[in-house]
């Protein structure tokens, strides 16, 4: 399998290198779907120029990346293309290793349950086979590396690729069971784009499960581990933030990065839901609706954690998807991260209901984005409503996709406990309805 991973990496690097050298790179780097005000490469270059002049990079309201990223590129600005390719490669390899490990755990668990005879008899066809699971890690890597969204994001040099790499490393460390590294990478991911702090819940749940600590408020071990993990996370967050402070010797970056993420002052159109609402809204409703929209991003953590506390990795997938749909400046790079997980849930395929519809919606919308942008900005014949309509359709498609996977997962778990062919009391076939 390692050979095919290397092959995929080579193909991915070739595709990116060719695109970097072509005239398309400039066009892609301008697309609002691919770069946001947060992660645009142009803005990073601007920040670097300001830094070189001895001015705070955050003066001028153009640059909104974190200090660590600007210092990273301070040293490797000449090799930026390679850095972005490496970031993508790291993400893919980390996901590959993580998924490989996770599959082993899932299979072992299934074996124990099977040996204990706790599965109903008729669920054999739902059980997972090693043959089917063997190809999943490489499929995950392919889904990430060759996804057009990732390629576009990398060619546009959107720093979203770096954030994805950090998140992927965090997932790898969590699955490998290293609490400290996991906390550090989670802190880094939070530091980079704020929203990943909701991944604290799945990471904690996974590690509790791994160490066989019962999740109950009465168990002292639960509290000890939670506070340990929490303090590691908070500690590294504080260290990283202070490091940034010492690098720039000012707290400018806090308002410029996190204030910018939270209060959404830049309403450049993107594939998210924020810009149109806040462009249309009366100014005095703005604070209220910003609160509503931002709470919406993190709100799903609680119900999902309660419902999926036995399945933390699926919870993690759901969380990443929810963040990338509802965050304030989403780009296609964010979407590609959660889409990389889709092969992992290949076994849910038979329970998916709208996959055909949803994939058509997603593909059609991705093609329509540039068309309507052209009509709006260049031809001047359409207007922002046209573009926003597509944004809405695209997001509805994503939400349907995620909820479809959620439903399928729950349904499979239900069948694993109650048997595949459910009978009603009067003997007719029963149907499950999600309401």
């Amino acid at each position: 399998m390692a050979a095919s991973l290397v092959l995929v990496l080579l193909i991915a690097v070739t595709v990116r290198a060719v695109l970097f050298r072509s005239s398309l790179a400039e066009i892609i780097a301008e697309r609002v779907e691919v770069v946001s005000p947060l992660n645009g490469w142009k803005r990073v270059v601007e920040g670097l120029a300001l830094l070189d002049l001895g001015v705070s990079p955050y003066s001028g309201d153009v640059f909104h990346e974190t200090p660590l990223v600007i210092y990273l590129f301070h040293f490797v600005i000449d090799y930026s293309e390679i850095v972005f390719m490496i970031a993508d490669a790291i993400t893919a390899v980390a996901l590959y290793l993580a998924v490989q490990d996770y599959n082993k755990i899932v299979f072992r668990k299934q074996k124990y349950t099977l040996e204990a005879g706790r599965y109903p008899l008729d669920v054999v066809e739902l059980l997972r086979t090693p043959k089917e699971m063997m190809y999943i890690p490489i499929k995950v890597a392919v889904f990430y590396l060759l996804n057009p969204f990732t390629v576009l994001s990398c060619v546009a040099k959107s720093t979203c690729g770096l954030n994805n790499a950090i998140t992927a490393l965090f997932i790898l460390c969590t699955i490998k069971g290293s609490a400290l590294l996991s906390a550090i990478f989670l802190a880094l991911a939070t530091y980079q784009s704020l929203y990943p702090f909701t991944l604290f819940a799945p990471a904690l749940l996974y590690q509790l499960q791994r160490q066989f600590i019962p999740i109950s408020i009465h168990s002292p071990r639960f509290w000890i581990f939670t506070s340990q993990y929490g303090s590691m996370y908070l500690g590294s967050l504080v260290v990283i933030t202070c490091l940034s402070f010492f690098l720039l010797s000012s707290w400018d970056f806090v308002t410029s990065v996190y204030g910018f993420i939270l209060s959404v002052p830049d309403l450049t159109p993107n594939i998210g839901l924020f810009w149109y609402f806040f462009a249309e809204m009366f100014e005095h409703f703005r604070p209220f609706f910003i609160c509503v929209f931002q709470i919406n991003v993190v709100f799903y953590t609680i119900p999902l954690s309660v419902k999926l506390k036995e399945h933390p990795i699926f919870l993690m997938f759901m969380q990443i998807a929810v963040i990338s749909i509802f965050k304030s400046y989403p780009t296609v790079g964010d979407i590609s991260l959660y889409m990389a997980f889709l092969p992992l849930w290949h076994h849910l395929y038979r329970f998916l209901r709208n996959i055909f519809l949803v994939s058509i919606v997603l593909i059609a919308c991705s093609v329509l984005f540039p068309v309507l942008w052209h009509l709006w900005i260049y031809a001047g014949s359409a207007n922002s409503n046209f573009y926003y309509a597509i944004t809405l359709a695209f997001n509805v498609g994503q939400i349907l996709l995620v909820s479809d996977y959620f439903y399928a997962y729950l349904r499979r778990e239900h069948h694993l406990i109650h048997g595949l062919y459910l009978k009603k009391k009067d003997g007719t076939e029963e149907t499950l309805i999600l309401k």
Binding site: L375, A379, L400
Partner: protein, 611 residues
């Protein structure tokens, strides 16, 4: 959401869709076509109205009485034009200067990718002359433009004469709040493209031109004049621009409002309006007008000099003076009054045209069909593709139980799908690049001119594409499987749906014509049954045949039917013009057809010969 989550209802719906698929598709097609035909029926359309406040409520009084002066200018111009044998630049500059304009000239040159036989030009050199009348009453940030083209031949002298007379008259007025540019461009669209590119300081088509010496403000609106007789009987307004883009409907309304005020006859697509909408001839007349507009728009060619302005966010129309056998004629003073009135109203504009519609079809000058009315017709056609795709999807997801026994690997089937798609697109790339690249080679080996070489290479590649790709999967996996062609068809249908959807958004007419022809065949092709019939049908709906039939139909609608031989010649010319339009002005029709529509059609062709 009940439909999406309740399995029983879903099953019922899926059963309905699969069982009634063919009747549903036929019904959708009929509904789509009927809807479209109904658009020309007057009670179903909206009356045009002026949305722009700045132009609606104000009154202007036209005082232009210098029709004789315009005629004397035009005679003088035509004399100098004959003497110089082209645009009399020096005379124009002198005349404009003496009328008190700021005059500049701009030279340009362009070598066409291959000779244009219909206009007999290859290496084009020319000069544009333009004068700017500075606005006395406002900062010079906005402008309006009046243009008259001066191409080979001796027509359009009167337009230049009127332009000069208007310039000298406008110079004496005090109320101008926008700069007015008077432009005389040589070599019609090529000169216009050169001028527009320099004015906006971009270079998109590789034209060489001298830098622009003087500029006015951002152009808000432009009117292009075409007059070739001293008196006219009516005015024809031309709206279709590059890539089927249309000017804001308010500009057309403005023209119509002034025609009404002055009492001049005005036509669109050369058709007068009739009042008997409730009779069959009346209906067929407005349908005729609308279909002409659809055909012109779908060609993606600028139908007048104004067509290139639209890309730069400048609303523009061409006014074409017609001199027919009618008794009542209008002299230059009346024509001048019309243009003066339009310019005075444009002068009142406070912001860019944005109020009214940009997407519309015009069955007559008083009636329009907006995007909300015509899109459903198109959606019904796309719905057919969706229904078929859904049907195929259901079939595909039900068959795997049978397929499992054959131990079919996903690898080869993927490969056998990807190869035909790849080859189809490769043929498309060849169709796009080769005709221009190989013209030298073709002229060396065959006794043809460059233009013929390009056109015939394109046709040869097009025809060769039919023979090429449909054997690949046999070489790969022995024989085509049932599953294979279904998947290929599913992909092709979705591909076609997305393509047509995008096309219809940019150029509705093109998308609609392609949908009307391709969708029914695309929906019903399969490798079994009457395959010869399918193959014949597919050839009939292929883009080239559609073009041929459209040309024939266009001339039929113009009430000027042509023979098949003439049609074939027109067809060859249309291909060369299409390629030239792409290279000269950046028209998107040729790349769209050759890179996307044609490969998609080839995939469907593949399905017929799958086994």
């Amino acid at each position: 959401m009940g439909l999406l989550s309740d399995p029983n209802r879903r099953r019922a719906l899926t059963n309905l869709v699969t069982r009634l698929n063919t009747p549903l598709c036929v019904m959708c097609y009929i509904v789509g076509i009927t809807w479209f035909l109904g658009l020309a029926f007057e009670p179903f359309t909206l009356r045009t109205y002026m949305s722009e406040n700045a132009m609606g409520s104000t009154m202007v009084e036209e005082k232009f009485v210098y029709g004789d002066r315009a005629l004397s200018y035009s005679r003088e111009f035509s004399g100098h034009r004959k003497k110089v044998g082209g645009l009399p630049v020096d005379w124009l500059v002198k005349t404009m200067k003496s009328r008190g304009l700021e005059v500049y000239k701009q030279t340009f040159s362009r070598t066409l990718p291959f000779p244009d036989e219909s206009k007999e030009r290859y290496m084009v050199k020319g000069t544009n002359v333009y004068g700017i009348l500075r606005a006395p009453r406002a900062p010079r940030t906005e402008s309006i433009l009046l243009s008259a083209t001066c191409s080979e031949g001796s027509n359009n002298n009167q337009a230049v004469g009127l332009l000069l007379a208007l310039a000298s008259y406008f110079r004496g007025q005090v109320y101008w709040a926008k700069d007015i540019i008077f432009l005389v461009n040589e070599h019609d669209l090529i000169g216009m493209e050169a001028w527009l590119e320099s004015y906006h300081d971009v270079n998109m088509t590789g034209i060489q031109s001298s830098p622009m010496q003087g500029r006015a403000g951002a152009i808000q609106a432009a009117v292009s004049l075409e007059l070739s007789s001293d008196v006219i009987t009516s005015f024809d307004v031309v709206v279709e621009g590059l890539n089927g883009q249309l000017p804001n409907l308010d500009l057309v309304n403005l023209f119509y409002a002034f025609c009404q005020k002055i009492g001049m006859l005005c036509t669109i697509q050369g058709k007068l309006q009739r009042n008997d909408w409730d009779t069959l001839p009346g209906y067929s007349h407005s349908l005729n007008t609308m279909l002409l507009m659809v055909l012109k728009q779908s060609s993606g060619r600028p139908q007048g000099d104004h067509g290139l302005f639209l890309r730069y966010h400048v609303e523009a129309v061409t006014l074409r003076g017609i001199n027919s056998f009618r008794q009542y004629k209008f002299d230059m003073s009346t024509v001048g009054k019309l243009v003066e009135g339009m310019f005075r109203k444009l002068n009142n504009l406070l912001e860019r045209f944005h109020q009214s519609y940009f997407f519309y079809l015009l069955p007559s000058l008083t009636r329009f069909v907006s995007i909300g009315y015509y899109m459903p017709a198109f959606s019904f056609l796309i719905l057919i593709l969706m229904l078929r795709a859904l049907d195929l999807w259901v079939q595909l997801s039900n068959t795997p139980h049978v397929q499992d026994d054959e131990e079919q690997d996903p690898g080869p089937s993927m490969l056998s799908l990807a190869t035909p798609i790849f080859i189809c697109h490769l043929t498309g790339l060849a169709l796009y690049f080769l005709p221009i690249l190989s013209q030298d080679m073709a002229t060396q080996h065959f006794p043809v001119s460059e233009t013929e070489a390009v056109v015939f290479t394109a046709i040869a590649i097009y025809v060769a594409g039919l023979a090429l790709p449909h054997n690949t999967h046999r070489a790969l996996s022995g024989s085509g499987t049932e599953c294979g062609w279904r998947s290929l068809k599913l992909l092709s249908l979705l591909y076609l749906a997305v393509l047509l959807g995008c096309t219809a958004l940019i150029n509705f007419s093109l998308g609609f014509i392609l949908a009307v022809t391709m969708v029914p065949m695309a929906a019903f092709v399969q490798p079994s049954g009457p395959r010869v019939l399918y193959a014949f049908g597919l050839v009939l709906v292929s883009p080239a045949c559609t073009l041929l039939l459209s040309i024939y139909f266009y001339h039929y609608l113009l009430e000027y039917p042509i023979t098949l031989l003439e049609c074939w010649q027109q067809f060859l010319m249309a291909i060369s013009q299409g390629i030239l339009d792409h290279h000269l002005y950046g028209s998107l029709v040729y790349p769209l057809i050759s890179l996307f529509i044609y490969p998609c059609w080839l995939q469907l062709w593949n399905i017929v010969f799958w086994k």
